[in-house]
């Protein structure tokens, strides 16, 4: 057991996956000699060399498009896009090709690749470096989308993403890279994609979130217990596509109340999908309307004001109290 942060745990997963399977290659801008701007690929180039860990030209469509070709030709590419805010350049390749080859060829040509990118706000980054646009990819049939919330699940999800026979978008909440440490076991853990986790059991209200906002949600649950005696059940979605409906609708059937929290914009976001599925499945169990606590439908403000945009612990507590008072 080692106590490590998320940056280290993702690095560990890449290291382990590359050792285990020679088909795994890591590519992207600065991932080699420089070991990634966030040091996620630290030590990989030194260990595995130019053929398996390589710097590419600065071209996101190029990185993803050639990863598609490599995946078709028998490799398992893990492509880094330096910031999620730049992966829009690659969207055409993901939507038109990565997501569709299997379907288009009835399973003959497949694209087992991972696109990983640091996502989200909260590190006082410059413009275009703070978005959470995971919903775009959830809305793209054929892709899978995962987002870890801590070192342990980050490592387990990375293994799952690399093992997955389909293209996976692996968004890394960069605000968490070095925020806290967790113990990870010595042996490799693989977490199934498409499975959520009840991370704190409770009976009065369900708080559903993922990624960076898991921390304020857990803090809010603690505060609600201490100050109001309310037992909040907290669910970490982990996988946003496919989304584990069963886990959260069963929880809401039990508690009758829910708050869905994420950092990305509200309109057509992941929370909108979660609320719809609650309505479709357990509407008659609800004691109150489900609240969405999300980023606003504006570009993430520059960092002097980004804290007003990101859902924080106080906002989660307030949303829960509003739901409980209804």
């Amino acid at each position: 057991m080692a106590e490590i942060n998320m940056a280290k745990s993702i690095n560990m997963a890449l290291f382990e996956a590359m050792e285990k399977d020679s088909r795994v290659v890591v590519l992207g801008q600065d991932v080699g000699i420089d070991e990634g701007v966030f040091r996620i690929t630290e030590g990989l180039h030194a260990k595995f060399g130019d053929k398996r860990v390589f710097d590419t030209p600065l071209a996101e469509s190029g990185i993803i498009g050639t990863s598609i070709g490599m995946a078709i030709n028998g490799l398992l590419p893990v492509a880094e896009i330096q910031f999620a805010g730049f992966d829009y350049y690659a969207y055409q390749q993901l939507e038109s090709h990565a997501a569709r080859f299997r379907n288009r060829t009835r399973g003959r040509v497949t694209v087992p690749m991972v696109m990983r990118a640091p996502s989200g706000a909260g590190i006082r980054a410059l413009e275009h470096h703070s978005e959470s646009r995971e919903a775009i990819y959830c809305h793209t049939p054929g892709l899978k989308v995962v987002m870890p919330s801590g070192p342990r699940n980050a490592r387990a999800l990375m293994h799952a993403a690399i093992n997955d026979p389909d293209p996976v978008i692996y968004y890394e909440p960069k605000a968490l890279y070095r925020l806290f440490k967790e113990e990870v076991p010595d042996e490799i853990e693989v977490m199934p994609i498409g499975k959520a986790q009840v991370v704190r059991p409770g009976s009065d209200i369900t708080i559903i979130s993922y990624g960076a906002t898991m921390r304020p949600c857990l803090e809010a649950a603690e505060l609600l217990m201490e100050e109001d005696g309310v037992k909040a059940e907290v669910i970490d979605l982990l996988s946003l596509m496919p989304l584990d409906t069963e886990t959260f609708v069963n929880s809401v059937a039990k508690t009758g109340r829910a708050v869905v929290v994420h950092e990305g914009p509200r309109a057509c976001g992941v929370a909108a999908e979660v609320v719809s599925r609650i309505n479709e499945n357990v509407f008659l169990y609800l004691e109150a309307p489900v609240i969405r606590l999300t980023g606003y439908d504006v570009p993430v403000p520059y960092f002097s004001k980004e804290k007003f945009y990101i859902p924080d612990t106080d906002k989660v507590v307030e949303a829960c109290r509003k739901t409980l008072r209804f």
Partner: protein, 384 residues
Amino acid sequence: MPRKELEFDYTVETLSIVDEEGNVDKALEPKLSDKELLDMFRWMLYSRRVDERQLNLQRQGRIGTFPQSTGHEAIGLGSVFAIEKSDWFVPAYRELVCFLYRGWPLERLLLYWAGFEEGAVPPEGVNDLPICVPVASQLLHASGIGMANNIKGENKVVLTYFGDGSSSEGDFHEGINFAAVFNAPVIFVCENNQFAISEPLHKQTRTKTIAQKAVGYGVPGVRVDGNDVLAVYVATKEAIERARKGEGPTLLDCLTYRYTPHTTADDPKKYRSDEEAQKWAKREPLIRFAKYLEKKGLLNDEKRQKMETEIDEEIKEAVKKMETLAKSKELMEPLAMFDFLYADVPVHLEVQKHELAESLGRGDEVSTKSNPQRSIAGTAKRGG
């Protein structure tokens, strides 16, 4: 640093072997057997007849909109004839002759235009990708395949196709640039037919040729007579030799003319003149190759007629097969739309599959065991 000129060792070679009258430049003529030459002609003729038949089928509403490939036979066949089965073929959408030569059953190709995904399934035993509609995007797949070849230590080359319009796309640049930087064994074949739907070449680029763009990537660029199948063959063969020796990619700019509309939904009368079309009609690749073969004593009207009769019979059979397949239960199964998106069907798609099955009155056929709607509906409800 004073103002002076930097010199580059770049030139753009041009290549034409057979002229419009069928006269061959002996020094450049490739060493192909009579049988190979006749085979080449037969494939080109086959493709032409298929194209004509497809237009007919489209006009009768038996297949949908499709892009014609008449006039592109020399580029397609000349290049694909130069690679091995184990090499890679990464097409755009006007390479009918390549698909046929690579062994895609004609009925499958027709199925694609008749609206069936099954038509995009590459046959076993070839390293081919299906038709790619978004222009230039496939160049990156070709480069990635070539990069993977280098990583795996294989010696297969990749042949990829695109049009002159594609050269305006970012992926054209990124595709060639990646292949160049990683020394990937990719041959980029531009089917320069001088039109991107209605826009002539000078609206796509200010350069005189597409070939000269290769200079910007540090790779060889060759302007090839795209109506001369032997020129395309020789240029591709040389590019392949370089690629197999580890010398990286080549850009071939094969100049031709788009003899037909862009697709069956387009009317080129709006944007180009009859005179121009007539001028190019005389230069089309089958006429030229036939004249060359006639001069060599390999082809005459009677032989050609015999070939056409055989070909037409094959096409007739394929159309029949396609129409039988198109009506088959397996291919007409709408529920299959959920089955191939992911390796395993996720729950939300199972639910949606069930929804479609129910609307077809076939709800019982689709398992709902993992449908949360069902599992929870069985428990007692609170509230209303």
